[in-house]
Each structure stands twice: as C-alpha cells, then as structure tokens.
C-alpha cells in the first residue's frame, strides 16, 4: 500500500487544518510531511492521528515535522511535562543555565536561534535560550 494511502487521514487533516507550507513527499519508502501552524492543538491532533494509524510509531515509514513553535516577537507558553524550563546562556544543553521559566508561564519569544532553540525573555526580565519544543504559541 502506498504510504500516501496509509496516512491519507493524516494528510487530509493537515490540509483541512490549513497547515502552512505543507509538503508531502515520499522518498525511499518513507513519507515526509512538513509544515507549520500557529496552533499547538492542531499539531497535537495530527500526532494523535499518526499514533492511531501507526500505534506507538513503530513502522518507521513517516517523518512528521509540524512546527508549532511561537514566532519571533510573539508570546509563548512554557509547555514542559511538569518541571521548570531551563533558560540557557546559548543555544545548547551544554550551555550554562542562567534562569528558569515555570511550567505554563507566558514568555516573549525574542528570536529563533535555529530550528531547535529560541531566545526568550520572561516578564521578570530574564533572557536566554530555551528548547523550542517546550514553547507553544500563546
């Protein structure tokens, strides 16, 4: 079965959710779905569909890359599992921790250092880099 058929529900959902720059490509028996959204819930919904079609993501035939991170100049919510989010001096976990942001705290995204790290500022004035996966558009 072609991968686009297997993941049709997911592709249709991404299309109807208005995912920006949506790209669906198949290469070497892996399907690549890329795009971005400003709504963190849309990303979660797509991942739930992925998990339903391929329980526990075992098949290894899809790379789903939906960027729902907050854009520069906007507010973002800290969405860690339970702990505080480390704010670091530079973009990398090898960088010194200069502060922490609480779970569910709203911070300002100053800029994106790269696809993985964002420069943020807290309301209390702390500034540094955090892992973008733990920020959701507020």
């Amino acid at each position: 079965m072609a991968l686009k058929d297997k993941y049709k529900e997911l592709i249709d959902a991404a299309t109807s959710a208005g995912i920006s720059d949506l790209k669906v490509r198949e290469q070497d028996n892996v399907l690549y779905i890329d795009g971005s959204t400003t709504d963190g819930k849309v990303k979660d919904d797509l991942w739930n569909i992925y998990n339903k079609i391929d329980p526990d993501f075992r098949a290894g035939d899809l790379i789903l890359n939906i960027d729902a991170s907050a854009a520069a100049g906007t507010k973002a919510k800290v969405t860690t599992q339970s702990s505080n989010l480390n704010i670091r001096k530079g973009p990398g976990t090898d960088q010194e921790i200069v502060g922490k942001a609480a779970q569910n705290e709203i911070v300002t995204v100053v800029s994106k250092a790269n696809e993985q790290w964002s420069l943020i500022r807290t309301d209390s004035g702390k500034e540094g880099y955090v892992y973008t996966q733990y920020l959701t558009q507020a």
Partner: protein, 118 residues
C-alpha cells in the same frame, strides 16, 4: 605610417585611461554585484525542498539529539546514515513528545525499538 601607429597608441592609451577611470568610480557597484550574485544562490537553496527531502547529516543529528533526548533518561538514540534508532524504555504518555522532538531534526527515518511501559 608612423603617424598611424602613434595615433593607435594614443587611442589605446586614451581607452585605457577611460576604462581605468570608470573602474575607479565603481567600488560600491562591485559590492552591489556581489550581493546580487548571492541572492539567486539563496533562492536555489530554498527551492530545493520542493523536489528532494533534505536529510540532516549524521554529525548534525549527533549534535542535536542530546538536546532532544535530555528529558528522556531511559532512552538511547544512535545514528547511522541519517537513521535514528531508539532503544531503552519509555512511558507511553511521554512517547509522542520524544517523537515530535526527533522528527523535527530532519532524520531519514526513525526506528522505534523502545520498550514501552504502561
């Protein structure tokens, strides 16, 4: 005949001075040209994903994976030719977050060999 040769020299000299003069006034234009040359190259790069999927190099994946897996202490991720293989254990409710972080690194594929609890 000599006169013609002399006239030729003068003409060539004049042309040389003219070209030299026009070049002198162009340093800023040269910079602009450089920028203009860079711009189409960038366009070519951004157009590429439309056709081929860009896969991260192993070095780049190995550099990014520790950041992505830091909060998943039971998980080990190895990289070979763009393929990430996951081993170890994880709780089912944490699996999507891990997969979201790894899928964003542009791997070729992800082999999930994790033992899943709960």
């Amino acid at each position: 005949m000599k006169k013609h040769i002399m006239a030729g020299y003068v003409l060539a000299l004049g042309l040389f001075v003219l070209i030299l003069g026009s070049c002198k006034g162009k340093p800023s234009q040269t910079t602009t040209t450089d920028t203009a040359v860079v711009a189409p190259a960038d366009n070519t790069t951004t157009k590429m994903p439309d056709t081929a999927v860009v896969i991260s190099a192993d070095d780049s994946l190995k550099r990014m994976i520790p950041d992505a897996t830091k909060d998943f202490p039971g998980v080990t991720a190895s990289v070979d030719q763009g393929v990430i293989t996951l081993t170890g254990t994880i709780n089912r409710d944490r699996l999507p977050k891990l997969m979201m972080a790894l899928n964003a690194l542009h791997p070729k594929k992800i082999n999930n060999n994790l033992t899943i609890n709960k």
